[in-house]
Symmetry: C2
Subunit: 330 residues, 2 copies
């Protein structure tokens, strides 16, 4: 936090922290109620069920992030415990969504591959290389098969994740989490420090969250020596994404809204994560035993396309990153 906030300089930490946590807890409980209403098998994957799950994940991430960043103002054992349980829950709920997103992304990319036929734009002279029709045909056969293979694999994974999420939501472990969040909605377990002014209790942890984000971004590999298929570097970018998110929640709590300058970079890191995981899914599908070479070929094209999207997302991140010199410019 660069500028002290007027509101937080005069209020206690409790007066800033507790309403935010209560609001997020209320969102969590509302999402849970909606999710129960729409969790009949017939509703699986409907918009209402998806929205309920999204609201649950959204609130769980914010509660968890706040417990992490402002641990000093909260009852420590209680918040560590809840944070671990929320991480388990968010992870379980996020998986189903992630498989659905990944499948949609890959099928869309395959569709672009096979649908891009432009016979009207054929050569006006005879000077072009021959074989472009054959290329297209080879891709066409493979994309259909690759699409079917990915759909089979990711739908299966999604169905399993859906069952796991339903099972988790019916478990006694989950009921304990829901009880803890219900407590949070009425009475936030604070430490003694929460009675002190917000400026002295909350600003230092928020600045630390910001600094950790800046450090993670500074540690990203420079753009000069970009090599293709640098999957080993993805983890550093995923790490930067998580730290940007923690900073965003801290900012949101202290200022009432996320930092607009970080919307672009944050979105780029989300796309980066999606493309990186889609590339890995294409690559994993290509390791299916006994697939046809045309299928493998299309999956190779898909893998390369998604890796190019990874690079594109990194470029957008660099272009939109608002802090000078934190990332080496291209």
């Amino acid at each position: 936090m660069r500028r002290p906030d007027h509101q937080t300089t005069t209020l206690t930490a409790e007066a800033v922290l507790a309403p935010y946590l209560r609001e997020q807890a209320a969102c969590f409980l509302r999402g849970l109620r909606l999710h129960r209403e729409h969790s009949a098998p017939a509703d699986a994957g409907t918009q209402s069920a998806d929205e309920a799950a999204r609201a649950l994940r959204h609130a769980a991430r914010r509660i968890s992030g706040t417990l992490h960043t402002f641990r000093g103002a909260l009852e420590p054992a209680w918040s560590d415990q809840l944070r671990a349980e929320l991480a388990w829950l968010s992870g379980t709920l996020a998986r189903e969504h992630a498989y659905a997103t990944r499948l949609g992304r890959l099928l869309e990319a395959l569709h672009q591959l096979s649908g891009a036929s432009l016979p009207a734009a054929r050569t006006p002279s005879g000077d072009g290389p021959d074989g472009s029709d054959k290329e297209r045909a080879a891709l066409g056969v493979g994309t259909a098969r690759a699409g079917a293979l990915l759909e089979r694999r990711l739908t299966l994974a999604r169905t399993r994740a859906h069952s796991a999420a339903l099972q988790a939501l019916g478990s006694s472990r989950f009921h304990a989490v829901a009880d803890a969040v219900a407590l949070l909605a009425s009475e936030v377990p604070l430490s003694a420090a929460a009675a002190e002014p917000a400026a002295s209790v909350l600003h230092a942890p928020a600045e630390l969250a910001e600094q950790r984000m800046l450090d993670a971004v500074a540690a990203l590999p420079p753009d000069e020596a970009v090599e293709p298929y640098n999957e080993a570097q993805d983890a550093l970018w995923h790490q930067a994404r998580l730290l940007l998110r923690l900073h965003r929640y801290a900012h949101e709590m202290l200022r009432g809204a996320p930092d607009p300058a970080l919307a672009g970079p944050g979105h780029a890191l989300d796309l980066h994560r999606d493309a990186s995981e889609a590339a890995a899914a294409a690559s994993a599908a290509a390791r299916t035993p006994r697939i046809a070479p045309t299928t493998a070929y299309a999956l190779g094209v898909l893998h390369a396309d998604q890796r190019h999207e990874v690079e594109a997302a990194r470029a957008v991140f660099r272009e939109t990153w608002p802090y000078a010199a934190a990332v080496t410019a291209p």
Copy 2:
């Protein structure tokens, strides 16, 4: 040609055209002599043999382009005949070079694919997706096999093209071309119009060559609706490349040097052609019967990479193109 050239306003067409053609004819004959000296089987593919072939192609293209653009100032039947024969010769000589370039380009791309391992940059936390090592391994197996397959196919094609070039250079058809070029080196067969001022005879055809280039560039598909794998559009770009080259030779003849503003766009169109043909070669190799899925997968990655290079070359062309509004900007 936008500005009239001082020299060509006072000289006859012959005084501008004949020295240029004589010089190119001398280059052709020198290249031919060098090629004969280095065409022993032991020299095949050596730097000297390559340089001799390059000099031959270089001169043949310029003579052919000049005969085409300034046909009105030359004896028409003679120049049409020589132009057709030079096209045959350049085509035959270019094939060997093209296969060698394509193989080099594809092996280099495969090398980047398999060599990009960065274990030192591994994740500092456990947050990254697993599977990146498996992805790399799957690519590794396939890239080695794909490299071997491409090397086999393109070396075979190159060897055949080399034999065909040697056979062409020993043919009576070639001796007739060499005789015609030898004539050109001493006495250029001109039409009556060549006695008139250069400005009235040469400027209009040069402007036409420029206009045809501008029209071809204006006819390129706009950048807004870029679809991946638009192989059907490549021919329009190849056509623009040929017309840019004809304009360049006309400029070179009239002004003594090529237009420096077109060096960037011309280079981009060369790269475009190379990447387009390399992508087609990867795709053609993937149609080899009974290849392993890992090989097909690597060829798919390679195909996609080369198509991305096609797009990148188009972007560079658009950025470096010196005429406003001729190509829709991105």
